[in-house]
């Protein structure tokens, strides 16, 4: 750190000294710590929220065949007769060791099930991100270059239209045209263990396209706005006067300074790709976390609902934290604090 000499002399060995000599690290650790506290709070909220929800697993599971004795039996078997706090800490202790308990409905390990499902969801989210992030940023740059001209407007209108349609509707439209009418895409998008990589990619084409359409506009518009903001500064004018070509100015001079807000919006959208896919997964019959969660909610399989909720919350918090940290790293003023 070039500015380390200006900070108060470090007292060797003490944690305070370590942090003050590494303010960036301190900042990052602080974020991680806060994230952890937040996750803990969310776990409590989830547990209480599910507790006060109307409806009951035993009733939902037994349906029409629920007699008071059968309900009492199931509740006893699942340990639901223990006090709330005891159950919460029991569950939390398990979660800290990576054990989300067993599903009430089929007595299978939730962690194992989630492992497979989360893998599928991340696979879909990853490919949606691989397509959408470069596309959004590229389109944003093109829009800046042709600002207020026909191409800019076209990009804007199309991406806004895509975001304005609810995602289930976008999904159904894609199914209607690509799968039903033209028959060129695979539907349903079910993937399974012994599928080849190529088949997998083909299977997720439609849900991936749906997700791309949903997140594209937000990122594209933020990129455009952030870069445009920079484009009006004096140093860009200088670059222009130097005779640099337009794309070079945007990519080399403007974009790096606009990176912080872009990272933020990208991270938010990545988080959305993972946690917002519930509807898309159900429509495309994709065996990911979303569908697992919906299955569990219908039958009130609470260990699964809690685990999915917590995993989603963790993904959201981690990605936001990452955005924060990258935002700090991208900003020289924060990177080198006085």
């Amino acid at each position: 750190m070039s500015n380390a000499s200006t900070s108060p002399p470090a007292s060797k060995g003490s944690a305070g000294g370590f942090f003050s000599s590494n303010p960036l690290l301190a900042l990052i650790l602080q974020r991680i710590f806060l994230g952890f506290i937040l996750l803990l709070a969310i776990s409590a909220l989830l547990f209480i929220g599910i507790e006060v929800l109307p409806g009951d697993f035993a009733q939902a599971y037994l349906g029409q065949s629920a007699t008071p004795e059968a309900i009492a039996n199931i509740r006893k078997e699942l340990g639901l007769d223990a006090p709330l706090l005891e159950r919460y800490f029991g569950w939390l202790g398990g979660v800290l060791q990576g054990d989300f308990g067993t599903s009430w409905a089929n007595k299978a390990s939730v962690s194992e099930q989630i492992g497979k499902r989360l893998g599928n969801t991340l696979f879909l989210a990853f490919w949606a991100a691989v397509v959408s992030v470069p596309l959004a940023i590229g389109l944003g740059m093109i829009a800046v270059h042709y600002r207020n001209r026909f191409i800019d407007r076209l990009i804007n209108v199309i991406s806004l239209a895509a975001i304005s349609l609810p995602e289930f509707f976008t999904g159904y439209l894609l199914i209607l045209f690509f799968a039903v009418n033209w028959g060129i895409a695979i539907f349903p998008s079910t993937v399974f263990a012994d599928m080849s990589f190529g088949d997998r990619l083909a299977a997720i084409a439609l849900p991936c396209a749906t997700l791309v359409l949903v997140v594209l506009a937000h990122m594209m518009r933020m990129t455009r706005a952030a870069i445009l903001n920079i484009m009006s500064s004096a140093y860009i004018e200088t670059a222009e006067l130097k005779g640099l070509d337009a794309f070079r100015i945007i990519a080399k001079h403007a974009a790096p300074n606009a990176i912080a807000p872009i990272i933020n919006v990208v991270a938010l959208n990545l988080a959305y790709l993972v946690v917002g896919v519930v509807v898309v997964e159900v429509i495309f019959v994709y065996p990911g976390m979303g569908q697992y969660l919906v299955d569990a909610v219908t039958i009130r399989d609470m260990p699964v609902v809690q685990a999915c909720g917590l995993v989603f919350a963790a993904v959201y918090i981690i990605l936001n934290m990452l955005a924060d940290v990258l935002g700090i790293l991208a900003n020289p003023r924060l990177r080198h604090p006085k």
């Binding site: 009733q59 029409q64 065949s65 309900i71 349903p188 079910t190 399974f192 569908q291 039958i299």
Partner: protein, 529 residues
């Protein structure tokens, strides 16, 4: 005349005309139904089932919580997939509902119908290569009789007192009281015969069915491949069968119309018009035993009064219910829970119709004053809230005021059904009249949801159960039906159809009142043309 029928028969064979339409045309041409049926089967057989191909089904009714243990089967997909890999001792005939021998080759009963001997078929092998024996049958039946197994067939097995091997190829079943329906009861889809009774590995998915389980991903998909050397002709035509779990209706319809699956279940009557427009799809609706009901507790005010019950029964516009709630995909009910899908059904019981004058008369006679409170929720059945409003309107024509209370879907089965005196509900039906009446109309039955109790009815029920003479039995059931119809707390406006949609590439779809998707047999009975 027969030429035209033969052409039609070919169309049925190719799956382009439904069996029902064929019979309708045959009747129009003046041909008696039994003759038409035999003509149809000979034409269909002549066209021949096509062998080979990969049959795919997209179905609603499966979650990641499902297991291959037959004792746990509760929803459509485990039920249907169970038919693919497993077999039971008996099945019910799609033609008249009578029991058909499968793993049991034949059976005989003692004159009091208390003791039954089943002869077990020889030369049947499990998918693990072992031969199926009477020991496996005994072990399977014993496992499902055990309280700890939590089998869905426990209710059926409770009446069985003893199960033991009798000679090399026989199984002797003794009952605590006579029951002529035992062969029907053993067709229960939970009672798949497993090696060693499935005691060691209940969820291994090893049975004697036409296909071997190759993929088991609960809530996602199931697949099975042909079991070479399966003993039975006429089932298992495709090389392999796959069931995809598609719980979303729109996705199911899209998967079918885009040709990715060959059959789907549970088509909503509301969207059937759209699906019919697809040129590659045909709708296969089958009248089943399921019914939608309005139930009154006959032991609580104000429904203690027979006249009030009759008033409400006469105030029900059944045709309108079938037309608007089921969009025509159903049949009218007659206030007793039995229809032509059951064996020993009497079709000469007069149909009750909407009659505001009679309703007015009985209502006045009952002396009831003010509105009648009806509780409902769409949890009871799809469209129950609309059905309640229709009922309210038809009642008002008879001067009866109905107050509707919408209840939350959550907890409807524990807080409203079987608790509140008047509500909407449904029944899936049972394989036999005896089971339907025992489960919901006998004095003291847990699910007697009309709280109706008549000793004379209970006596008839027991007498009919042990009666081996079919004609006499039918007479007893007729008497019981009339008692429920005229005195019971049940208003039964409609029986709902099972609605499946099938690609035109599929041949040999058989209508079977026993359950949805050809009673679960669709993937093994049908073939790919």
């Amino acid at each position: 005349m027969t030429d035209e029928l033969k052409d039609l028969g070919m169309l049925v064979a190719r799956g382009q005309v439904s069996r029902r339409d064929f019979l309708g045309r045959a009747a129009a041409l003046g041909l008696a139904a039994p003759l038409a049926t035999s003509l149809l089967s000979s034409t269909v057989l002549a066209a021949g089932p096509n062998k080979g191909g990969h049959m795919k089904l997209g179905m609603n009714g499966g979650t990641s919580a499902d297991s291959l243990d037959p004792a746990t089967f509760a929803s459509s997909i485990p039920f249907t997939f169970g038919r693919v890999w497993g077999e039971t001792l008996t099945e019910t005939s799609p033609v008249d509902g009578s029991p058909v021998p499968v793993l049991a080759e034949s059976w005989e009963a003692s004159p009091d119908a208390k003791s039954w001997r089943f002869k077990i078929r020889k030369g049947v092998t499990f998918h693990n290569g072992k031969e199926m024996t009477a020991d496996d049958v005994v072990a399977t039946l014993l496992r499902h009789s055990d309280d700890d197994a939590k089998s869905g067939a426990l209710g059926v097995m409770k009446t069985i007192q003893g199960i033991k091997k009798d000679g090399d190829d026989g199984v002797l079943v003794t009952l605590d009281s006579g029951n002529a329906d035992l062969p029907y009861m053993l067709s229960d889809y939970h009672l798949i015969i497993q090696p060693g009774g499935g005691v060691e590995e209940p969820a291994a998915g090893i049975g004697t069915g036409p296909y071997k389980v190759s993929v088991n991903e609960p809530g996602v998909r199931y697949a099975a491949e042909r079991h070479e050397g399966h003993w039975r002709e006429g089932v298992g035509h495709a090389d392999s069968v796959e069931i995809l779990v598609i719980n979303d209706l729109t996705a199911r319809m899209a998967a079918l119309t885009s040709g990715q699956v060959h059959m789907i279940n549970r088509v909503d009557p509301k969207t059937i018009g759209l699906l019919k427009r697809a040129p590659t799809v045909s709708i296969e609706n089958t009248a089943g035993r399921g019914h939608y009901v309005f139930i009154m507790h006959t032991d609580k005010e104000p429904f203690l009064n027979t006249d009030l019950r009759l008033a409400l029964k006469h105030a029900m516009n059944r045709e309108q219910m079938v037309e608007q709630i089921l969009r025509g995909y159903g049949t009218v009910g007659n206030d007793f829970p039995i229809n032509a899908a059951y064996a020993n059904f009497s079709d000469d019981i007069p149909q009750r119709t909407f009659d505001p004058d009679k309703a007015k008369f009985h209502f006045k006679k009952s002396g009831h004053d003010g509105a009648v409170l009806l509780r409902t929720s769409n949890a009871a059945f799809n469209g129950a809230e609309d059905a309640a409003v229709l009922f309210q309107q038809s009642c008002s024509q008879a001067g009866i005021q109905i107050e509707i209370k919408r209840e939350p879907a959550d907890g409807y089965w524990s807080n409203v059904w079987n608790v509140q005196p008047f509500c909407t509900s449904y029944w899936g039906g049972r394989p036999t009249q005896d089971q339907m009446y025992s489960v919901a109309y006998q004095t003291g039955a847990d699910w007697n949801d009309t709280k109706w109790s008549r000793p004379a009815f209970d006596e008839l029920l027991v007498a009919a159960r042990a009666e081996l003479d079919e004609a006499r039995r039918k007479e007893l059931y007729r008497e019981m039906a009339l008692m429920v119809r005229d005195d019971g707390g049940l208003i039964l406006p409609m029986f709902n159809d099972f609605i499946a949609a099938v690609s035109k590439k599929v041949g040999g779809y058989v209508h079977d009142a026993g359950g949805e998707m050809s009673n679960g047999f669709a993937p093994i009975r049908a073939w790919l043309a």
